[in-house]
């Protein structure tokens, strides 16, 4: 009995081995590339991945998109556990610098992908921002931009018409007057999610750049310029947004996302600080006014006082991508990661994102592949022109950035005067300069 069972077992084994030896060889499994980021939004990322995998069936992209605060924590934890993904989304400045030792130098990678003159494919301001915070003498790129953005103000055209306002304000006094008219017409004149630090900083920098853009740029790079007359004047204009009831009541407790964006999309707000990424609403909303952007227009922060110089545009890298040192542990994964990076920035992936108007392309020459309504085309083309000359919108040092957020909120809460608040930011900038 035992012998019979043994013989049967041996026979079965031989059959199995023979069957597998005679079977045709399985196609090689696709190389898996893991990607983490907070942007683009999940539907856009899914479309990008589908396009990349269609073009490269030997590559499988697994992406995890999380809200930025959650993403920051996840990435820190991944560094600690040695489980970083292959490609990471990065904001320029402190976020890229924080992970610099875990990122590959992309300069030779970029040369490999786009040739020796690869830098001419990006605007100088975007490349400069991508290297924000690099140690002195380090000219490497640790992240390359996929998408760029312009920060400015959006306004609701029907709301303006109903309030009897011909067009966007050209001066701060006009802005205050228009706010009164919008409020009388039943709208929130200017929604500011002042509880969201990022948008406070952007609003302030938009104001300050109308007065002294050189100081703004220097301050973003860490120079202690916050008590210069132009910066104090900008702080007073910021204060006026609260005292003259331009911002809605309770602005300091309001969040730009999701509340501000939802109210603006619902047509309840006259004006709001947003940026070029708002164009993605054309793909995310079914409302006719949003699908074609026919109900919405853009403008820059109005001229301040006697400062009547040319308009200055603020913007920069929206999301950049870095390849981690984890990816280089496998030649196949590294090669696939480079392919995905190229597709994200200048290939089918970026084309998908562009077609959804997720934001503006960082790679020169890329355009949406579908026709757009006239108004939408006009807004989009204006953004592309502004991007070519835009100054950066990022304060490189997060400690100075946070100090500015606290100061701006204190001004709005009337717990600090503009002078005192800007002095506090100045003290922080000086301390940071000394520490580094």
């Amino acid at each position: 009995m035992k012998t019979k069972a043994c013989l049967l077992g041996v026979a079965a084994t031989l059959l199995l081995v023979g069957a597998s030896a005679g079977a045709p060889a399985r196609a090689a499994d696709p190389v898996v590339v893991t990607v983490w980021s907070w942007s683009p939004v999940t539907p856009t990322m899914n479309a990008m991945i589908a396009a990349i995998q269609k073009a490269h069936p030997d590559i499988q992209v697994k992406a995890t998109i999380q809200p930025h605060p959650v993403y920051s924590v996840s990435l820190q934890a991944a560094v600690g556990s040695g489980n970083m993904p292959d490609i990471v989304g990065l904001s320029p400045g402190s976020e890229t610098q924080q992970y610099r030792e875990h990122l590959l130098n992309l300069s030779p990678v970029a040369e490999e992908l786009w040739g020796k003159d690869w830098q001419k494919n990006f605007s100088p301001s975007l490349l400069s921002e991508a290297r924000f915070g690099n140690p002195q003498g380090d000219a490497n790129f640790y992240a390359l931009p996929q998408e760029a953005q312009i920060n400015n103000l959006w306004y609701n055209i029907p709301a303006f018409e109903k309030a009897g306002i011909a067009g966007p304000p050209k001066t701060v006094d006009e802005l205050v007057a228009d706010a009164k008219k919008l409020r009388a017409a039943g709208y929130m004149p200017f929604y500011q999610g002042a509880g969201t630090g990022t948008f406070d900083v952007w609003a302030y920098l938009l104001i300050a750049s109308r007065i002294d853009v050189d100081s703004v740029v220097a301050g973003e790079q860490g120079a202690p310029i916050w008590t210069k007359p132009g910066m104090i004047e900008a702080a007073h204009v910021w204060q006026r947004m609260f005292t003259d009831d331009v911002f809605q009541p309770g602005a300091l407790s309001a969040l730009q996302y999701p509340t501000g964006a939802n109210l603006f999309a619902a047509g309840r707000v006259g004006m709001i600080v947003l940026g070029s990424w708002w164009l993605q609403q054309t793909g995310l909303s079914e409302l006719p006014g949003l699908k074609t952007m026919s109900d919405y227009g853009t403008f820059n922060f109005p001229a301040v006082g006697d400062h009547k110089g040319p308009e200055v545009f603020l913007g920069g890298v929206d999301v950049g991508w870095g390849i981690t040192t984890n990816a280089s542990s496998s030649p196949a994964v590294l090669a696939a990661s480079k392919v995905v990076l190229k597709e994200f920035i200048s290939g089918v992936g970026e084309q998908e994102a562009l077609d959804e108007l997720n934001d503006l392309p960082a790679f020169n020459g890329m355009t949406p592949s579908h026709a757009m309504p006239a108004h939408l085309t006009e807004v989009y083309d204006t953004y592309i022109k502004e991007l070519a000359t835009a100054h950066t919108h990022v304060i490189g040092n997060p400690v100075i950035n946070q100090s500015l957020v606290s100061g701006l909120q204190a001004i709005g809460a009337k717990t600090m005067t503009p002078e005192a608040a800007m002095q506090a930011v100045q003290d922080t900038a000086l301390a940071q300069q000394k520490a580094h």
């Binding site: 509880g195 969201t196 309770g250 300091l252 407790s253 204190a410």
Partner: protein
């Protein structure tokens, strides 16, 4: 000792002693084997992170060992705001949650003859709602111009006087604390209900005969009998108040102007927003020491009160 005496079952005393010691040794080993998994979990997930955090707090940004992080905290105005707010959170949350919990539990157990389970369940429901949903809903409730509370004010002609609760540094912390009290009072109700059901009814009847009725019964009989429950709830409430993060972060992000920062939110901000991990570790150590001290004090006070009861 002879072979026959060993074989016959009458083992000499020495042999019996050896056998007994081996038996006890094995039992001790067995006990350690049962405890080991729990100890391993404690070591890996509690002891090691705490130790690593303390060590990290003693390093500067350039890898040097230094007390600079603690010196920085001592001169940091936002740190002291966070400390003060953490203390306010502990006091207000524990006092109000205990008071509301006790009063409601008393009402349910003593004065509601039917449907107690329904009341307990309804009051416990806020505990099972995700903090992010609560934060979003209450942010909208508090919103001036379009929130629910504003609507109530507006309906009686006071819309123009509605305060921006979360937008005013003077009221923002209390606004968030109120939400926390709303969420956690149900837990206190439940615990007090359990405590009240364990009080011997004959004791209450005897107290009534002696003249302890109404408020006197609550003050001199029921409340002292619930000291153990109260002590545990005060400890749990303290821990929860010190740990609270999602409500604050989602409702105010620590603002406006850092006025709602607590130690928990400040640790997150310094560690993950400002990328100052070593400084964040120092703040975390301060929070750990503060929590430990508060709990030890509370247990000691509770023990003394029980001893004198």
């Amino acid at each position: 000792m002879t072979a026959s005496s060993v074989g016959s079952g009458h083992a000499p005393a020495v042999a019996r002693g050896v056998k007994l010691r081996r038996g006890r040794g094995w039992r001790e080993l067995e006990a350690w084997l049962y405890v080991l998994p729990g100890l391993a979990v404690f070591a890996v997930f509690i002891a090691y992170p705490i130790t690593a955090n303390i060590v990290a707090s003693l390093f500067g940004p350039h890898g040097d060992v230094t007390m600079a992080n603690y010196r920085q905290a001592s001169g940091d105005a936002v740190f002291w705001t966070a400390m003060r707010n953490s203390a306010v959170w502990v006091v207000l949350c524990v006092v109000f949650e205990a008071a509301i919990g006790f009063v409601l539990a008393l009402a349910i157990e003593m004065y509601i003859p039917r449907g107690r389970v329904v009341f307990r369940t309804l009051l416990f429901l806020p505990m099972v709602i995700t903090p992010s949903v609560i934060a979003l809903v209450f942010s909208t409730i508090y919103a001036p111009d379009y929130g629910l509370l504003f609507g109530v004010f507006d309906s009686v002609g006071l819309g123009g006087h509605f305060p921006a609760i979360l937008g005013d540094p003077a009221t923002a912390t209390y606004g968030v604390i109120a939400v926390n009290v709303w969420q956690w009072s149900g837990f206190f109700v439940l615990m007090y209900c359990v405590g009240l059901t364990q009080i011997d009814r004959e004791l209450l009847a005897a107290a009534a005969i002696d003249g302890a009725v109404g408020f006197a019964r609550v003050r001199y009989v029921i409340w002292p009998l619930l000291y153990p429950v109260t002590t545990s709830l005060v400890v749990l409430g303290t821990i929860q108040a010190l740990q609270q993060f999602p409500l604050i972060f989602l409702m105010t992000e620590g603002g406006p102007a850092d006025s709602t920062q607590t130690l928990a939110t400040y640790i997150f901000q310094t560690g993950f927003v400002l990328n100052e991990m070593h400084y964040a570790s120092a703040v975390a150590v301060v929070l750990f020491v503060l929590s430990l001290a508060l709990i030890v004090v509370q247990y000691r006070l509770g023990r003394e009160r029980r001893a004198h009861a």
